[in-house]
Symmetry: D2
Subunit: 250 residues, 4 copies
């Protein structure tokens, strides 16, 4: 049985496994497949389940520790974004390596750490995440990417908080709640929460409103990953941590 006459098929790999453009920030975003079903099957609390969030953050930390070229990660809902340093040369910037390693380790970690967060709530089936890798040429583009995700968190969370208040506390049907919210802007939603449900939206846990930001913290004992729930849209976050973008200016 000679292997050599089949080996030509290896070269077909070249066409798909392209190299990511140098000097771009590389973002890998993973997102749970059909997580509406997964959340329902595992009795996720609404609108936010802190067990689920804790597990996602744990998986992201695992990924980040494995790939120190990730300098910031951002998570919300069933998704997580990992940003690699723009000058990373890991795997010669082969796109498939970044994509597959990140989503694979995230997925296996999700099962591995499940019990630490969900205790007696049994995992019903192995979950699945999609992933994509995207290039961002400038600092501005990369920051706008993260801002896009955090603005998404804000909008979804404000909506979901109102929605479930209407359903759970005001006994509205999902359809009624949806109709009520369809005509409200951001201000009206805040107002509704405050007046009708005695809830000051800005006093809800930051983890729900801001999502989770993972960065490296370097001390004398070594480097560790810390989880923050802060605004990353404004300059404050970045100005306070100059090491994040050091060597990454345009």
């Amino acid at each position: 049985m000679s292997k050599s006459r089949f080996e030509y098929v290896k070269q077909f790999e070249q066409q798909t496994d392209t190299l990511l453009l140098p000097n771009c920030f590389l973002v890998v975003r993973v997102d749970g497949r059909a997580f509406h079903r997964f959340a329902a099957a595992h009795k996720y609390r609404r609108p936010n389940d802190e067990r689920g969030i804790g597990l996602m953050n744990r998986c992201a930390e695992r990924v980040m520790r494995e790939f120190p070229d990730i300098f910031v990660a951002y998570g919300e809902s069933d998704e997580y974004s990992f940003v690699f340093r723009r000058n990373t040369t890991l795997y010669s910037r082969r796109q498939f390596k970044y994509l597959s390693y990140v989503v694979s380790l995230f997925s296996s970690s999700f099962v591995y750490h499940w019990k630490e967060f969900f205790g007696d709530e049994e995992l019903q089936y192995a979950p699945c995440f999609d992933a994509r890798v995207v290039c961002y040429p400038t600092l501005r583009n990369m920051r706008d990417y993260l801002s896009w995700r955090q603005a998404d968190t804000h909008i979804n969370n404000l909506y979901n908080t109102c929605f479930w208040a209407l359903v759970q506390q005001d006994n509205k049907t999902p359809t009624e709640a949806e109709q009520i919210l369809r005509v409200t802007d951001s201000g009206a939603k805040n107002e509704m929460l405050f007046t009708q449900f005695k809830t000051n939206y800005n006093e809800l846990p930051a983890v729900y409103r801001k999502g989770s930001v993972l960065v490296w913290e370097r001390t004398e004992e070594g480097a560790s990953v810390v989880t923050l729930h802060e605004d990353i849209i404004g300059n404050g976050f970045w100005d306070a941590r100059p090491e994040l973008l050091k060597g990454q200016q345009d």
Copy 2:
């Protein structure tokens, strides 16, 4: 907080998430990252650990049942190849979807089913797999791809069987074993096993010599995935299962 001024970043995704060429067979191959270390850390038996093989096959079955457009899969060592029907239009043939779903589900399944195969051998850490997607234009190319992997199984397994016989039964050091084998061809290795170790290579379990082939079996009760350990290089396998390539001729 307006989301709209950040939304432009979404369009950067288009550049990397390309569509796979129509009418090609699509192969997704996953391969364990640093599995020499993983095997050592989990006391995998040498040269083949049937628990590990059983687990890999279980994961592959899970993937195949999730994506019925996979019509054949082939596994050996720490890798698995999944072949999608050439006319699949799943996810508009977006390469990232195929790649990420397969490797994600395979990885999470690996942890999910670990205990069923390894019992008291505790999983030490979440494993990680890489993945790639490759296009093959013709039936011949696709079959040569599978033949390439099975020929690889044969060569590696024959080598490893000799190597570990020399080390475990003949008390050679790994370096000595390597030196002895360096000058042997396939015939000499068979001969060594037979003469020196009273082993008829061809009578070793087919799962070690041939790897694992997964195909769909359709009966009146429905479709199920069956695991075979047969030669897929010759025509016999394919001729006996005309439904495999039905509608997939060039």
Copy 3:
């Protein structure tokens, strides 16, 4: 002035200059940019100008002689398709090389040979062509590609023949002609030509109805390119020239 510190920019080329999938037929199609304007500016005859066709064929022949891996080419209107043998390894299958060489040589030839076909009709400005390269995995796909272009020729030419007959011989305005033709199928158009304009469509020159097909003819004196105006949709053309597809079966 040191060059070395700038040389890193060369590697950015890798990301765009990808390799075309092996074993696929490669088609490069060129198409004149804004040729409605070019045709008007150079008083092209309507609906077909044999000078223009002759020039296009001359350019295509030049391209084909330069790249003998092109085994068939097909031209109509302001476009030309060049089909490279599926096993070509020219330029390691770098897509940019195929694309640029073909469109460049076609374009420069267009000016170079202009006078031979248009005589005293002065070339007003340098013309411009776009180009694309497309992969076709199977013989069937490649033949369907050529059939697609020849079916296009047929449909456009039948329409244009009717349109200009109505305008030139029946004094209809373009808008009137368009309205008349909007409700006619292929049969009705043939009928109109025959009854109203005493024209048997099938007796019009084949070059208008079938476009131009370029293939290699090998005789004892050597190889030359011949220009045909035949049906290439049916099997006849291909069966009569077995050397065309020799070594190119799936």
Copy 4:
């Protein structure tokens, strides 16, 4: 003859015709194919033929006027680089459109304008250029690209000036000249020209030493393309023309 059953082949185009990453500078570089032969066949003067340079510049100007999103172009020897504004959205950033239009128009213009520069020196055959398109994420990368090309001009021109002085004035054979120059650095080459050939390298025409830079000049009467022969590696050139990079900062 139905066209519809063939139309599926159009979608195969999607796989190759990818979109260039937003916010990157796009560079199209064209380079003459086998111009050593072309130069010999048309008796180009050595080491620089101002007729050839004039013609190249004329073609580049034509391209630039056709695509005003090109804000700077740089030419030397048988090559020309065209830099599109980073925010260009021409043709939805389809890579094939940029590549093919630029190289096609450049090539046809070369023949169209030949006689204006070469007079009685007949064009022997239609020339051919390759082309590539490259993305540069930042201003620095784009400027380094242009610096790379201009440093190349300097090195080649200094070498060629010495080489042809040795051959033409000192009656060395090409092999001898090459051997002499092999061991010289930049300083030694300048010295040799000055001492042995009474030539002050820095007083040679700037067009040979610096290549040609094309930029837009906007006056009250409108915009026109101007040809410069200046250093573009240092900041001076860019600082003196702030409009070039306006709106293109990172």
